[in-house]
């Protein structure tokens, strides 16, 4: 394992920036009471400054849990059992609760899957938008109100002054997500973790919200960790992609590399599924489930669902030892598959 750590340090670091904004190494999160192995099991991920990194995978692979862990908002019963997550050089996992409160909304903000239930049903929208601002920027009530209207206009909400005094139930899903974006950006965070921000929205609204996020990245120099299972969104948004399976990253690389030259059978399957769906309206499903993989003691976790191992006749190797996340193809491209050619700087 130790020899693996070295190359990862510079993985995905955009060439123009010195240190990544978020650097997760060997993260482990467990549910001790439930058991069944770690939900996140030795995960590595970096997000550079101004970068959009997509974290993709099926439901159950641990994506949302990663997001909550980065916010220091673990669901009840979850425990971090190892690893570090450096945010701007400071380990989020080791922060005292008080420091976490200072960081949340200030340095890192979060967007959620179902914006409407993320807004307090009994409070007006404006107050929630200004919450982070007032918490972190020592802004008075009156000034905050003016800023809220500004911010709401900025995320494309018509009649922002009127909307500021609306309640969540009066907003459409798209409006609510815009409000959540305004709330997330109100204190100028450096990193936004967006957990399936458009999954619950109509397709047309999805595109608008994604555009908005991209514009914000461009104008504010935000970094975005975009969690999604929709590869269409990934291809239009992300600079880099990390594919998560059963609690760990199985492949990562630039978006172009991943889409044109996938090196892990799971990624291939995901791509195939999304292509089929897009082109023929046909659903392709990967046989098996993530849950099975968690029961695996050793060997590749994707093996029970992997078509490639049998094809290439390397099942014995795959069941014997779990492959490491090694460089393949582009120097920025890593795969956790025995079948992927293990040569650095090949091209």
């Amino acid at each position: 394992m130790s020899e693996m750590v070295e190359p990862i340090v510079d993985v995905g670091m955009p060439r123009h920036v010195a240190a990544p904004l978020l650097e997760i190494r060997d993260l482990r999160v467990e549910f001790p009471e439930i058991g069944g192995g770690p939900a996140i099991d030795g995960m590595d991920l970096t997000v550079g400054r101004g970068e959009i990194v997509a974290l993709v995978g099926e439901s159950g692979s641990g994506k949302s849990l990663t997001a909550l862990t980065m916010m220091g908002l673990l669901p009840p019963g979850a425990e971090v059992s190892g690893g570090t997550a450096l945010l701007d050089g400071e380990d989020v996992l080791a922060m005292a609760p008080k420091r976490l409160n200072e960081v949340r909304g200030n340095k890192v903000a979060m967007l959620f899957q179902q914006p409407k239930v993320m807004l307090d049903p009994t409070a007006r929208v404006g107050g929630q938008v200004s919450e982070a601002l007032r918490r972190h920027r020592k802004v008075g009530r009156r000034e905050a109100r003016a800023r809220v209207v500004e911010m709401l206009r900025d995320v494309g909400i018509p009649e922002p002054a009127r909307r500021a005094s609306s309640f969540a139930y009066q907003l459409s899903g798209g409006m609510a997500q815009r409000v959540m974006i305004a709330a997330a950006l109100s204190a100028d965070p450096e990193l936004v973790i967006a957990d399936e921000p458009t999954t619950a929205l109509d397709v047309t609204v999805q595109a608008q919200i994604l555009d908005l996020l991209k514009t914000k990245r461009d104008t504010l120099g935000l970094s975005i960790l975009l969690i999604t299972h929709d590869l269409g969104i990934v291809s239009s948004m992300a600079d880099r992609v990390a594919v998560m399976y059963a609690g760990r990253i199985v492949e990562n690389g630039t978006t172009q590399e991943i889409f044109t030259n996938p090196q892990h059978p799971y990624t291939e399957a995901l791509l195939k599924a999304s292509l089929l769906e897009a082109e023929r309206g046909q659903l392709y499903s990967i046989p098996g489930s993530v849950a099975q993989a968690r029961a695996m003691q050793h060997g590749c976790r994707f093996l029970p669902r992997c078509p490639k191992a049998a094809e290439l006749g390397i099942t014995a190797q795959c069941s014997g030892a779990e492959p490491t996340l090694h460089i393949c193809g582009d120097h920025d491209h890593h795969s956790r598959c025995h079948a992927a050619p293990e040569h650095a700087e090949a091209r």
Partner: protein, 313 residues
């Protein structure tokens, strides 16, 4: 909303109709001549000669069909005129008004006291669900709910009035007189308020918008105050007003024990002495208020909680 109002006012009027018919029939129940009982309420003279009774019966129209008499009675009743009390020889209205204000004071004192303790207890239990504190608070609330006030009351009197002599044992002539009855009365609502606060708060704390608020950097206590309280208070407030309506006339035992001149004791003594006009007036007032307060609460609930519209949609 309009449908709601229409429906509720229909229900309210039917209820009042039924209650008023039953109240009207009280003089016809039990022993004695109903006409005499009714006359007694009207003319405030218990020692009528049979000849006078006959004359007055004709004069007041008490020989007419019973439903005509009912409407006569109702006409006077809606103006608050139920006649004279047999025992105190004063108009019922003059007895009921001060009694009601006493009951309102006592009910508010008891329920606010209950709320002051129940809110922190319920919230503390909700934030430590399943923990030792939660278990202890739950057990306290279960005990409070099971404690009869006519047992707690006399024990309080024994300890604080007789043994320690700190507080008066009964009566209603100053602020100190409120303490013991209010404490005794507050125990059961305290238990229920605690349980409802705990349930509502646990539900709210698991809500997604709490996570969202936390993600903006609000500390847990601030989130609790700003988003938790407001969202969990509606069921508590509903229960509060339910109890308030109930205690206006329902605090009979405590008012009797502590000699508090409220509605409950007024009604109770009237029933014991068969003081028909007071029974009629008191019952009509208490039951009308109970239904009215609860209707208004339901109305307020849907106005104050925009979330209802979402969940119903």
């Amino acid at each position: 909303m309009l449908m709601f109002l229409l429906r509720r006012s229909l229900v309210l009027s039917v209820t009042l109709l039924v209650i008023s018919v039953l109240a009207f029939l009280i003089p016809y129940a039990g022993e004695g001549d109903p006409a005499r009982k009714i006359l007694q309420a009207r003319v405030n003279d218990p020692g009528l000669e049979p000849a006078q009774v006959e004359a007055l019966t004709r004069e007041l129209g008490l020989d007419r069909p019973i439903f005509v008499q009912y409407f006569d009675w109702l006409k006077q009743a809606v103006t608050g005129d139920f006649g004279f009390s047999y025992t105190s020889r004063t108009p019922v209205g003059e007895l009921v008004t001060p009694a009601l204000s006493v009951s309102i004071t006592l009910a508010l004192a008891a329920l606010l006291l209950a709320l002051v303790f129940a809110l922190p207890l319920g919230i503390a239990a909700a934030t430590r669900r399943g923990g030792r504190l939660d278990n202890a608070i739950t057990f306290i609330s279960q005990s409070a709910v099971s404690a009869p006030e006519y047992w707690v009351g006399p024990v309080l009197v024994l300890v604080f009035a007789r043994y320690l002599g700190w507080l008066p044992s009964g009566g209603w002539t100053g602020p100190a007189f409120i303490v013991l009855p209010a404490v005794a009365l507050s125990l059961r609502p305290l238990g229920y308020f605690t349980q409802v606060t705990r349930a509502a708060m646990s539900e709210v704390l698991a809500a997604p918008y709490i996570t969202a608020a936390r993600s903006r950097g609000l500390s847990f206590p601030v989130t609790l105050l700003r988003h938790g309280l407001r969202n969990s208070m509606l069921p508590v407030m509903t229960l509060f007003s339910f109890w308030f309506a109930g205690l206006l006339g329902g605090a009979v035992v405590i008012e009797v024990i502590f000699n508090v001149p409220g509605m409950g004791r007024l009604l109770y003594t009237a029933v014991v002495n068969n003081d028909v006009p007071v029974i009629q007036g008191g019952l009509m007032l208490i039951l009308t208020l109970a239904v009215l307060i609860n209707t208004v609460t339901d109305l307020l609930y849907s106005v104050l909680n925009p979330a209802i519209k979402v969940t119903n949609a």
